[in-house]
């Protein structure tokens, strides 16, 4: 699913340098990425998603050479192939839960909002246990409910890859496990690949594979 070779990326103003000689993730794997703050975990997600471009090296996701395509191409690729789940949920308070889930469909021409998509959004919300909250404003939900809505938003376009940036970081212990279960269930159901950045070592045994960012200093993490 993901293949990275000889990647170099830097923020010259911060003196930040990221080097990944080789890194790959097979289809369907649930991978956890751990490492100290500032080591570049979120930057890795941004590189894979095409939000930022590498200085040198190759990134291939689902057969798409992300490092080669144009900005517009990367945006279309991102919104159709990748589902992003953020630590702070990043829902828009002024939209209802349903509108938040459908939001990716309203901001790009790459996705078509059809009645079937709207129906799928409702079904997804039912599965996630927020089917009765669809008309409420996102700001009125609990933390757990917000993250469920954010996962629905990430899964609705049926992405091949789900990137989760500390998706359980703001949740209480019970909610953490429950949300992770829901995320894993949804990933399995959609046959997607999951790459999750986390600081929570308690959750690591549940993943198929764990990559420590410190490994990159010593060589590849293939």
């Amino acid at each position: 699913m993901i293949s990275i070779e000889s990647l170099r990326f830097s923020y010259p103003q911060d003196g930040f340098n990221l080097q990944i000689p080789a890194f790959s993730v097979p289809v369907g794997q649930k991978l956890a990425v751990i490492g100290p703050s500032g080591s570049g975990k979120t930057t890795l997600l941004n590189l894979i998603a095409g939000i930022v471009a590498p200085d040198t090296g190759r990134i291939q996701v689902a057969g798409v050479p992300v490092h080669e395509i144009t900005d517009a191409g990367r945006r279309d690729f991102r919104i159709t192939q990748i589902g992003f789940v953020f630590q702070d949920f990043e829902l828009l308070d002024y939209l209802s839960v349903l509108d938040n889930i459908l939001h990716p469909y309203r901001i790009t021409r790459a996705l078509q909002l059809t009645p079937a998509v709207a129906r799928r959004a409702r079904e997804l919300a039912e599965q996630m246990g927020i089917g009765d909250k669809l008309q409420r404003h996102a700001g009125d939900l609990s933390q757990g409910e917000k993250q469920r809505a954010a996962i629905c938003r990430a899964l609705l376009p049926q992405p091949k890859l789900i990137l989760a940036d500390e998706a359980t970081g703001n949740l209480d212990p019970d909610n953490k496990l429950h949300i992770l279960d829901l995320l894993f269930e949804a990933v399995d159901q959609h046959g997607a690949t999951l790459l999750a950045v986390t600081h929570d070592h308690e959750l690591l045994p549940r993943f198929d594979r764990v990559v420590d960012f410190n490994e990159f200093r010593g060589g590849s993490a293939a």
């Binding site: 900005d71 945006r75 990748i82 992003f84 990043e90 002024y94 021409r109 909002l113």
Partner: protein
Amino acid sequence: MIDSFYIAWKYLLFSKARSATLVACITLIAVLPLALEIILDESEHQLVERAEHTPLLVGARGSALDLVMNSLYFADEVPELISMLTADEITATDLAYSIPLYVRFQARGFPIVGTTLDYFDFRRLRPAAGTPFGLLGECVIGSAVARELGLKPGDSLLSSPETVFDLAGVYPLKMRVAGVLAPTHSADDLAVLVDIKTAWVIEGLVHGHEDVTRSRDGSVIIERSESNVTANAKLMQYTEITAANIDAFHLHGNPEDYPLTAVIALPHDDKAAAILRGRYQNADTSYQIVPPADVIDTLMTNIFRIRNVLDAVILFVGLATLMALVLVFALSLRLRQREIDTIFKLGCSRLTIAQLLGAEIVIIAAFSSVLCLLILSVVAHYDQQLVRALFI
């Protein structure tokens, strides 16, 4: 599909106070100069047209502007009084016709214009209902007066006392509405026209009361002799002129000395006008003769000078408000930076983000435009009343 307007609408709806403030500010910036333009245009139209149709005005020396504003637009400021003799003298010169005016009293907030039937011909006034006044105590009301007070021919209208606390003053006169004028879009729409003698009745110079020679009420009669009867204030004064008591109304003193506020002089030709003006321009007379068009021309020059100042003030206020709006918008963008970053991360282009924000501006501008049009249509609808309230 990009639903910029849907998302923008949801945001504006969610931030109601902010949206309403922005709409109000933009509306205000647009409405102020445009409404001022409408009002000033209407004021110019009203003032100039009426002034140009009034050849000459004779009144007491003093403020020519007060004289013109009172005589043509029935403004509250009453000029020094002249006498009925002035009107007779003008007619006697054979140079002009004269129409007396006595504009001093009010009825429920509308000016009572004491004049003669010639005034109707001169201003081309015609009743839309009823007839012109024919009897003492009758009035003809302007279309706006009829509309606002809900009056029609046959109804009655009470004159207002000049001062509320004048206990010894004259009783208000209950006037019968003889007719309602067709709309003229001039000051006449807001006037209560009465015969000049009725105006004098309102002042108490012409009055009617019970016949003291027949009264046997000891509490009314102070002294009675063969040739004279003296009554006290208890003597009943008539406050309405009817067929039964009209004969009891009588003048005291010489009618030539009765007051007027002005006389409209209608010269037979330009030469007559020049001669007439020459006579009254003599510094020894206590009168002045003015062509209202000249007076209004001076007034308009001053109004337009003020208009320029106002335009400049509005421009500066508008610029300051626009800058404040830009600042509000910039700050709002900063507050929403995280939201913008999120939708960018989801896969939205910078252009689409600009489109979303542009849609918000378009919606706010559209609401402001609709509000602006509504306010301007209200201003345009009531421009005559506004002009009267603001300038006349």
